[in-house]
C-alpha cells in the first residue's frame, strides 16, 4: 500500500483537496508555509490573513485562525491585528496585483514603518482570479487579456521589482527575499526566516514567491515550468535581499 503523502499538521483537512487550479503554484507555497508553521510550533498563535484574488481560496486552508479581507487590504488588517495583539504571529498572503498595485501604498508604508508582520506575495505575472489581466509583474512582451499584443514597456512600464525596492525602503531588522516554487527548499527557508524575524521582533518581513499560472498563461506542464524557470527567474532574481542576520547566517 502506498503511504499517503505527508500533510502538514497545520493544514485544515476538511478544506482539502484545495481549490486552486491544477498546476497552480499556490499549493506549493502553502505546503511550505504549513511545514514552517509546524516546525516553529506556532499553529495556535498564527493569524493567517488572505487577500482577494486567487489567494482568497486559502481562507480556510490552515488549521489556524484566519481572516479574509479586501483586495489589497490584507496588509493593514495584519498591521491592525499585530499592533493590537503583538503576541500573535500575523502572516498576510496576497498576489502581485493585491500587493504591488491596489495595495502598494500599504505595502510601502508598512515596510517603511518596519511593521512586525510577515507578508507573502505570490507573483504569477497576472491577475489570475479575474481572468488573466496584466499585472504590475507581467513581463515585457507577455500577452495577457489586457495586453493582448504583449506588454509594451513604453506604454505600461517594466515589471515591479518588489523585494528590490522594499530592501531599499526598509530599515535595519527587515527580512526581504524572493523565492520560487521551483526551488522548494530555498522557498521554505525564506518563509521560515520571514516568520522567525517577526517572532524575534526584528522588523518587517517579506517574501515574494514566483509561481505558476498555467490556466491563464495557457501553457502545458512543460511550457509552464519553462516560463517560470527560463523567463520569470531571469527577470526576477531569487535570493535574500536583506536580513537582520547577515547573508547565509540562518
Amino acid at each position: 500500500m502506498m503511504a499517503a503523502p505527508a500533510v502538514p499538521k497545520s493544514w485544515y483537512l476538511p478544506s482539502k483537496p484545495h481549490k486552486f487550479c491544477p498546476g497552480c503554484g499556490h499549493g506549493i507555497v502553502l505546503k511550505a508555509l504549513g511545514e514552517v508553521i509546524d516546525e516553529l510550533d506556532i499553529q495556535n498563535d498564527t493569524i493567517f490573513g488572505c487577500d482577494i484574488g486567487c489567494s482568497l481560496l486559502s481562507w480556510d486552508f490552515f488549521n489556524c485562525d484566519s481572516t479574509q479581507t479586501h483586495h489589497g487590504r490584507t496588509t493593514p488588517v495584519m498591521v491592525g491585528i499585530k499592533r493590537a495583539r503583538p503576541e500573535l504571529v500575523c502572516i498576510g498572503y496576497m498576489g502581485d496585483g493585491g500587493g504591488y498595485s491596489i495595495g502598494s501604498q500599504h505595502l510601502l508604508n508598512s515596510a517603511v514603518r518596519n511593521e512586525k508582520i510577515t507578508l507573502i506575495l505570490v507573483n504569477n505575472t497576472n491577475y489570475g482570479m479575474t481572468g488573466g489581466q496584466m499585472a504590475p509583474t507581467t513581463l515585457p512582451g507577455q500577452k495577457t487579456e489586457t495586453s493582448p499584443f504583449g506588454r509594451d514597456p513604453q506604454l505600461t512600464g517594466y515589471p515591479t521589482m518588489g523585494p528590490e525596492f522594499l530592501a531599499e525602503l526598509t530599515s535595519e531588522g527587515a527580512f526581504i527575499a524572493r523565492a520560487t516554487v521551483s526551488k522548494y527548499r530555498q522557498l521554505k527557508k525564506h518563509l521560515k526566516n520571514a516568520i522567525i524575524n517577526q517572532m524575534e521582533g526584528n522588523g518587517f518581513s517579506f517574501v515574494e514567491v514566483l509561481s505558476t499560472c498555467p490556466t491563464n498563461w495557457k501553457t502545458n506542464a512543460q511550457q509552464t515550468w519553462a516560463f517560470l524557470e527560463d523567463q520569470m527567474e531571469k527577470q526576477f532574481p531569487v535570493g535574500e535581499f536583506k536580513s537582520p542576520w547577515g547573508k547565509g547566517v540562518k
Binding site: Q68, T69, R73, V77, V79
Partner: protein, 362 residues
C-alpha cells in the same frame, strides 16, 4: 489603573477633545487615524492622552488603512476606533463595508465637512447618505447624529457598548462646528453613571490548542454562491431589525398640538429648537422633532408625532441639499403631511433662518 475621570467634572473643551476623552473612558485601546480636517484634533488629543493610560495610536498611510487596521484590531478583540471626515469618509466606506459584512464592532467618529470632493474643511451635514448607506451593502450599521459636546461624549460611550454588544459598526456623526467649538460638558466615568462597559472579545486569536480544544476560527468575507450570501445578508437583516427598537433614539417637544412640525438633526436641531420656542412665543404653534439615531431611523415615533400634533406641514431643515429629507421621506412613506424644506448645503443654520422659513410657508 485608577479611574480616568474620578469625580464627574465640568469641562470647557472642543468637541474633538471630547471625542478623545470619551474613547478613553470607553476603554478604547488603540486609535488608527489619518489627518483630515476637521477631525485632526481627535488625534492630537489622543496622542497626548493615550500614553498616560497605556493606550496606543498609529498614524496610517491613508484612510483605507486607518479603517482596515481598525477592522484588524477589533477582530483580535481590542476596542479600537478611528475618526475621519469628507473624502476620508469616502475612502473609509471600503473598510466600513467590511465591518458591516463581517459584523465587526468598529467605532468611527465622523466630523462632517463640506462636499462634494474636497469641498470646505469645516462644516456641513452632507455625509448623511454616505454614513448611513455608504458602501456596497444594505446599511446595516448604527449612526448617531449628535448636536453638541455632551452628546459626543455620551454617544461615543454608547457607541462602543452598542458595537460590542450587537457587533454592528457604529458611527457618531458630528460636524466641524461641533469638532472645533468649545462648550461646556460634564465628563464622567461611565461605570459611576451606572453604564456597564461591554467587554471586548476576540474573533480570531482565541487561544487554546486548535484541532484539539477547538476548531480554527476562519472569518469569511467572500462567498462562492449567491445563495450563501443571500443567507448571510438575510440573517444580518433579521438581526438588525430585531435590535432596532432598542437602538432608536429621538427628541421631541410641543408635538401634542402644532400647526407645523420642524424636523432636523445634529447641530441644526439646536437652531430648530430655539426657533420653535421663539415661534411659540409669537403664537405660532410649531413643534420640534429630532432623530438622534439616523440608522435605525425612529420612523414610527415621527409618524406618531405627525398624528398626535395634527400638524399639516412639516419643515425639514438641514445643512445639505436634501440628504436628510430623502432619508426621512423613505422612512415615513405614505404620510400625507406636506413637506417643505430649508436646504442650506454646507452652511450653518441659525434660528432666524428657520423662523423666516416657517413664516414664509405658513
Amino acid at each position: 489603573m485608577g479611574k480616568i475621570i474620578g469625580e464627574p467634572k465640568k469641562a470647557f473643551i472642543t468637541g474633538n477633545e471630547a471625542v478623545a476623552w470619551a474613547c478613553l473612558v470607553s476603554g478604547a485601546e488603540i486609535m488608527f487615524g489619518y489627518p483630515i480636517t476637521p477631525q485632526n484634533e481627535v488625534m492630537h488629543y489622543w496622542t497626548r492622552l493615550a500614553p498616560k493610560y497605556d493606550r496606543r495610536f498609529l498614524q496610517t498611510e491613508d484612510e483605507l488603512s486607518a479603517g482596515f487596521t481598525t477592522c484588524g484590531a477589533v477582530q483580535s478583540g481590542v476596542k479600537a476606533f478611528t475618526a475621519t471626515a469628507g473624502p476620508g469618509n469616502v475612502l473609509m466606506q471600503e473598510p466600513f463595508g467590511m465591518a458591516e459584512a463581517m459584523r465587526l464592532p468598529l467605532v468611527a467618529m465622523i466630523q462632517q465637512r463640506g462636499g462634494p470632493s474636497s469641498g470646505t474643511v469645516i462644516y456641513s451635514q452632507q455625509e448623511v447618505t454616505l454614513t448611513t448607506f455608504g458602501g456596497n451593502g444594505e446599511g446595516h450599521r448604527i449612526v448617531y447624529s449628535t448636536s453638541g459636546h455632551q452628546e459626543i461624549y455620551d454617544y461615543l460611550i454608547k457607541a462602543f457598548n452598542v458595537a460590542w454588544k450587537y457587533r454592528f459598526p457604529v458611527f457618531v456623526l458630528g460636524d466641524g462646528y461641533q469638532a472645533k467649538m468649545r462648550e461646556p460638558l460634564e465628563m464622567y466615568d461611565p461605570e459611576d453613571h451606572g453604564i456597564e462597559l461591554v467587554k471586548p472579545y476576540p474573533l480570531i486569536g482565541l487561544g487554546g490548542k486548535i484541532g484539539e480544544e477547538r476548531e480554527p476560527s476562519h472569518l469569511c468575507n467572500i462567498y462562492s454562491m449567491e445563495e450563501e450570501l443571500y443567507d448571510v445578508v438575510m440573517k444580518m437583516a433579521a438581526e438588525y431589525e430585531a435590535i432596532t427598537p432598542q437602538l432608536m433614539e429621538w427628541e421631541e417637544e410641543f408635538c401634542e398640538d402644532a400647526d407645523i412640525l420642524i424636523v432636523s438633526h445634529g447641530v441644526v436641531a439646536r437652531a430648530a429648537y430655539d426657533a420653535v420656542k421663539a415661534l411659540r412665543s409669537q403664537g405660532i404653534k410649531a413643534a420640534y422633532f429630532r432623530p438622534i439615531s439616523l440608522r435605525p431611523f425612529p420612523a414610527q415615533q415621527l409618524r406618531d408625532a405627525i398624528a398626535k400634533s395634527g400638524a399639516k406641514k412639516m419643515l425639514v431643515a438641514e445643512s445639505a441639499y436634501g440628504q436628510f429629507e430623502r432619508l426621512l421621506k423613505q422612512e415615513i412613506y405614505g404620510e400625507t403631511i406636506k413637506i417643505e424644506h430649508l436646504f442650506m448645503p454646507g452652511v450653518g443654520i441659525i434660528d432666524y433662518d428657520v423662523i423666516e422659513k416657517v413664516k414664509s410657508i405658513l
